[in-house]
């Protein structure tokens, strides 16, 4: 269908492709980590669309940070739980 603006998914794919040279030069292990980062950003595409930011990449970067922070908090909680178990 004709679109005046690219959809958020199209914008995301464009941004991801813009880093293809960067990705290519990374080691295999780092490439996997980078792909994971982009995959986590995808989970918040709908929020990014709603935000309708003029520079969507900022929203994508923030989404990556968000997912990472969630993971840290969950791990922190698990560590606390494990410590609690040991102390108990």
């Amino acid at each position: 269908m004709g679109r005046t603006l690219p959809s958020i998914t199209q914008a995301f794919i464009q941004e991801e492709e813009a880093f293809s040279r960067f990705r290519r030069a990374l080691r295999r292990g780092d490439q996997i980590a980078l792909d994971d980062l982009f995959a986590t950003a995808r989970k918040h595409l709908s929020a990014a669309a709603y935000a309708s930011h003029a520079l969507p990449m900022e929203t994508f970067l923030l989404s990556m940070l968000l997912e990472q922070h969630k993971e840290i908090m969950q791990l922190r909680q698990q560590v606390a739980d494990l410590r609690g178990d040991r102390d108990a």
Binding site: D36, K43, H44, S46, A49, A54, E67, E71, M73
Partner: protein
């Protein structure tokens, strides 16, 4: 003066003057009446050009009456002064108008190309199958008429329609039929296609004796009626397909067009006078509409039955808008003049958006409530009064302005749909009205869905992109308000999709547990909302390409009453082979029997047993070829394929034997080994059963099964091992309830982790 009460069956332009009406009388008589029906169309422009038009019109053979008129154009602030052109012979209007438009291209024309039934609907309140009281003189000239019911009645008195169905004994696109099977009132006749003369004579006798109101055919538009017409001509035996003996049938040409990102093919159409011809093969969306739906569309759109059964819902909704406009003396533009106003890039970024579509939390979830806004976009248009000519609302909820054209048109339709929905909840399952209501509801649904699209369509007569954007803006707002309400009340929001959300909360598993949430959302959005149902369990699937990615519209689940709902998996896809879809459906029904998470484990083993059994059927050749047919849609002209898809290869095979194929047509094929890899089903010789590509069908089936079983912790490779092994029953299943491989990092954070209570 004789007067009649009955139902209006058909209405069209009289060959000389006014219109002809076909009435089904209460006494069973089929009456043909004639009514004077002057018709007016308008021209606007500069005074000099209008004067020239007037002079020119006076010299035309139609001799229209000319007058000055003042009317409202929705897209202009001031009323327009126009030249009104009145004709007593509607049948000649299209030709006069076309000549005028060609000669005076700079003038704007209004009310110029409107279906006669819509004009009649606006003037007299008629619609197909309306109950009418008609007062006519002895020659059948209507003196007065009154319509006794309304298209919005829930249970209208319906006429005893005489329906004659004529079907070929074989699908003509596949094999040449040898006979026609005609049925009416449970009586069946078989007419051999040879000899042709006796076929015509028998058919003519049947048409004359039974005199059907409705001719229901299989491939009547593309094959049957063209054949009968040419035979009738060849043998010089007139065939009374029409009730009007002096008229020929009306041909409409075939074509392909582009709509919502898809190529759609529509075959040629053949329309009759005084009798309705519906081709079940060609009527768009016939499967979901059926006859009840077609009649309901005709009643509410006021389009003739045979057209309502064929047109797209977009034409239906714009017809309703035209009738509303005519009725309210608002001009209907011939060509839309107004264009989109200039916008800044920032405006575009903010408003050029659709509905909110979330990525669900993939995996298996138990006790999930699904709530959705009832006809969200139409509701917003009606409640917030969104129409091209009204100021755009600054809030959800009632508007201070008088209702615009679009809300005026939609309001009764929306109310009828909601009334039918409410009734559906109270009717017992054996009530015959249930099936009927369902068919009518489906017709309403499509009209309501497209009315939103038409608001933004650049060629729609009453469209305006800003109104379209206002609807989605407030739709997003309503969905976010619903999300906020749910989260504040302690629900987890698993998924949101434009007008619905899936929510979950410990201890909420009965409809009444969700009632407070519904009330809260309704009060925050002032839009009608309902509980679609409570799922015993529902599984949201990740993308097929990358299993880290959730996708919005691939899920399946079981409601508390045991009914199953699935989207985006093989059994819903139109290009799945029936065999694959059936096995998937059977497996899903088996899983649906599980009432608790513990029980699921056993059901998964049973589902795998079904899969194994059906795979055996395939390998041992027990699956009929017909069930392995796959329908692939052609998306472009054959010459446009660089690498032909399976569908294109099959189409090329058909072309090689002289059968024509068009973009948008669905090509039926089976996958075979060797050669092209496919065999078109409509080729004269059937594929041999031994050539069948069993391995490929096995892959398709395993993929379909893996889609179902993946939320339970089994992927395609694991599944293959399970299916091959004979010890599957003893193995412990790796059931990982909603903690599928990537689930932990997809989980939204539990607010408790952040150190503040969930309800804060």
């Amino acid at each position: 003066m004789p007067d009649h009460t009955g139902w209006l069956l058909d209405l069209f332009e009289d060959a000389q003057r006014g219109v002809d009406l076909w009435l089904i009388g209460d006494d069973g008589a089929r009456l043909r009446l004639r009514q004077d029906f002057p018709l007016i169309f308008y021209a606007a422009g500069n005074t000099e050009a209008l004067h020239q038009l007037g002079l020119w019109l006076r010299g035309q053979p139609e001799k229209p009456a000319l007058a000055r008129a003042v009317r409202r154009d929705l897209f202009r602030d001031q009323p327009l002064t126009l030249l009104a052109i009145e004709m007593q012979d509607p049948i000649n209007q299209p030709r006069l108008f076309q000549r005028a438009a060609k000669r005076f291209p700079d003038l704007d024309f209004y009310d110029a190309d409107i279906n006669i039934t819509l004009r009649h609907a606006a003037r007299w309140g008629t619609f197909p199958l309306a109950r009418c009281y008609v007062c006519a003189d002895d020659d059948g000239n209507v003196q007065d008429m009154r319509v006794l019911d309304s298209p919005w009645d829930l249970d209208p008195l319906t006429p005893p329609l005489r329906v004659l169905s004529i079907m070929p004994d074989h699908d003509p696109s596949h094999t040449d039929p040898t006979a026609l099977i005609a049925t009416h009132d449970k009586r069946e006749y078989r007419f051999s296609l040879q000899p042709e003369r006796s076929l015509l004579i028998n058919l003519r006798a049947l048409l004359q004796r039974y005199d059907p109101d409705l001719l229901l055919t299989g491939s009547g538009d593309t094959w049957l009626l063209p054949l009968l017409l040419s035979l009738s001509k060849k043998h010089n035996l007139p065939l009374p397909l029409n009730r009007e003996p002096d008229r020929g049938v009306l041909h409409k040409k075939e074509g392909s067009y582009f709509s919502y990102g898809q190529i759609i093919y529509r075959g040629q159409q053949i329309l009759l006078y005084g009798r309705c011809h519906i081709d079940c093969r060609n009527a768009m969306m016939w499967q979901s509409y059926d006859l009840q739906g077609a009649l309901e569309s005709a009643r509410i759109t006021a389009l003739p039955i045979q057209q309502a059964a064929r047109v797209s819902p977009g034409t239906g909704i714009s017809s309703m808008q035209i009738t509303t406009a005519l009725h309210n003396e608002i001009l209907v533009p011939w060509k839309k003049q107004q264009v989109e106003r200039p916008k800044t890039a920032l405006d575009l970024i903010q408003y050029d958006q659709g509905g909110l579509v979330y990525q669900p939390i993939t995996g298996l979830h138990f006790d999930v409530g699904m709530i959705d806004f009832i006809s969200m976009y139409p509701s917003i248009m009606v409640h917030s009064n969104i129409s091209p000519e009204t100021p755009f609302p600054d809030r959800l909820g009632s508007s201070d302005h008088p209702p615009g054209l679009v809300p005026l048109t939609l309001k009764p339709l929306l109310e009828k749909r909601i009334a039918l929905k409410q009734r559906a909840l109270s009717l017992p399952s054996w009530d015959p009205r249930r099936a009927q209501d369902k068919a009518r509801s489906a017709a309403h649904k499509w009209l309501l869905v497209t009315c939103f699209g038409y608001l933004g369509y650049k060629n729609a007569r009453f469209g305006r992109i800003e109104a379209h954007e206002a609807v989605t803006t407030w739709g997003r707002e309503a969905l976010l308000r619903a999300k906020e309400a749910a989260e504040e009340m302690g629900f987890r929001v698993l998924h949101m999709y434009v007008d619905g959300l899936w929510v979950q909360k410990d201890g909420c598993r009965d409809p009444q547990h969700f009632q407070p949430l519904l009330e809260e959302v309704a009060s925050r959005t002032s839009l009608p909302i309902s509980l679609d149902g409570v799922y015993r369990w529902v599984a949201f699937l990740p993308s097929r390409v990358d299993d880290r990615l959730p996708v919005p519209n691939r899920y399946f689940g079981v409601f508390q009453d045991g009914s199953v709902k699935a989207r985006g998996i093989d059994l819903r896809r139109r290009d799945s082979a029936p065999y694959v879809a059936d096995v998937q459906r059977e497996m899903l029904r088996c899983l649906a029997l599980a009432s608790s998470p513990d029980d699921l484990q056993q059901r998964v083993s049973q589902a795998i047993a079904i899969l194994r059994q059906r795979l055996q059927d395939l390998r041992q050749g027990r699956v009929p070829l017909r069930e392995l047919l796959v329908g692939k849609k052609l998306s472009k002209e054959l010459s446009g394929y660089r690498v032909p898809s399976p569908g294109a290869k099959a189409a090329l095979q058909l072309q090689a034997v002289g059968k024509s194929v068009r973009p948008g047509q669905r090509i039926k094929l089976v996958f075979i080994r060797g050669g092209d890899g496919v065999h078109a089903w409509d080729l004269p010789e059937p594929p041999s059963a031994s050539a069948l590509d069993v391995h490929y069908y096995q892959t398709l089936l395993l993929r379909a099964a893996a889609n179902l079983l993946q939320p339970f912790g089994l992927d395609e490779d694991e599944l293959l091992i399970w299916v091959r092994s004979d010890f599957g029953k003893q193995l412990e299943l790796p059931l990982r309830v909603w903690s599928w491989r990537h689930a932990p990092d997809i989980l939204p954070l539990d607010p408790a982790l952040l150190g503040y209570p969930a309800n804060a």
